[in-house]
Amino acid sequence: MKYVPKDIRDAPNPNVTPTHPLKELIVLLSGALGCIVGAYIVLGFLVDWVVPKISFETEEKMAALFAPLDLQRDGSTDVERRLQAMVDEIQDSCTHLPYTISVSVADEPMINAVALPGGRIVVFQGLLENVRSENEIAFILGHEMGHFANRDHLRGLGRGLVLLVVSTALFGADSSVSDLIADTITITEMSFSRAQETRADEYGLEVLNCSFGHVTGATDFFEKIPKESDPGRFGHYFSSHPENQRRIARLKRIAEEKKFPEGRRIPWEE
C-alpha cells in the first residue's frame, strides 16, 4: 500500500463548519431573545387566565413566600388591634370575603396601604399619621378589601405570578425555586390598572356605606394630599394629581347615583 500525503493547502476542512462565529452569535442570540419575548407576551396573557383559577389554599401557601416587611413579629399593637376590629366588623356585617383578613402596621413613612396575597393588609405608619377620621380609614380598608374581592392583589404581582403558581404546584411553596421566583416579585411595586383602582374605590364606598350607614369621609384622604408632595410616597392612593381628581369626582358621582347619605365623621386618634 502506497502512502499518499494529503495535500491540505487548499482543501476545505470538513471538521470545521465555515460559519462565521459572529453570524452564529447573532442567530443564537436572536433565537434566545425571541423565546424570552414570546414567554413575556404569553405570561402577560396567562396572568388574567390563571388568577381566577388560584384556590384560596394555594394562595395561602404562596403568601408564606412574601415577607418583605417585618410582619412576623409577636403580638400586635393597639392600633393594629383597632384596625383588625374594624376589618372584622366589616367582614362580619358587609363583605364576607373568603379570606381571613389580618391587618398589620408597617413602620414606614409611605402614605399607602397594600393588600398582600393570603388576605394580609399592611397599612404604613405614614398613612395613619395623615388620617383624621375612622371613616377615612374604613374607606381605605374597604378599598384594599375591594382588591381582595377582585383578586387584584394577585394580578398586581404581574407575570411572576404565573411562574410562581406553576412552581408552587410542581415543587411546593417552600422550595428554593418558588423562593427564587418570589424574590423577583417586589410586593411594594405592585401595579394596579386604573380600572382596578376604580373598582376597588367603588367597593370601598359600598363598604363605607354599609358599615357607617353613610359615605362621608370617603374622599377626605384623596383631597388632603398636598399638591407639592412627592407622589411616590402615596402609592396607589395618589398616582398623579389629575387622576386623583378624577377618582374623587367619580366617588362623588356614585354616591349621588346610589343616594348614599351623608353623616358625621368619627375622629381617629392614635
Binding site: Y3, I8, N15, T17, P21, L22, E24, L25, L28, A32
Partner: protein
Amino acid sequence: MYDLLFLLGLIALGYISGTLIEKRHYRRIHEREKAFLSLPAVTVKSVDYPDEKIASAHLVTGSVVISIDYFKKFLAGLRMIFGGTVKSYETLIDRARREAVLRLKEDAGDADVIVNLRIETSSVGKNAHKKSVGSLEAVAYGTAIKLHPDA
C-alpha cells in the same frame, strides 16, 4: 449591572483575542503540516517491512492544551438551549488534534513512518472551579519506526 458589563467585556475580549490567536495558530499549523508532509503518521498497527529492515521502533507522543475563551463558551451555552452542532468548539478541537499530531511528528525526529497513531482528547481544569473556562487537551501517540538506510 457591573457583573453583566464585566461578562460582556470578557466575551468581547474572548472574541477578539480568540480570533487573532486562532488565525495565527492555523497559519503555523498549515506551515508545519506542509513541512512534515513526507513523514507519514498512519493508524495501521504494523508495516509490512521485514524485521531486519527496521532499525528502531519507539513510542512518540505529542500533546497540547488549548483554553477555550468566554466567547466560545457563550456560543456553546446558547447552543445548549437549542441543540445542534457546537460550531464554536469545532475549530478548538481541530486545532488541538492537529497540533498534537504535529508535536508527535516533531518528537519522532528522523523516523521514516509513525504507525498505530492514536489521538485522545480530554478536558483539563474544568472541575477546579465550575464556572471557570475549561481547557481542552489533545494527546497523540504512536510508534515511530526508523528503517535501515539501505532498505
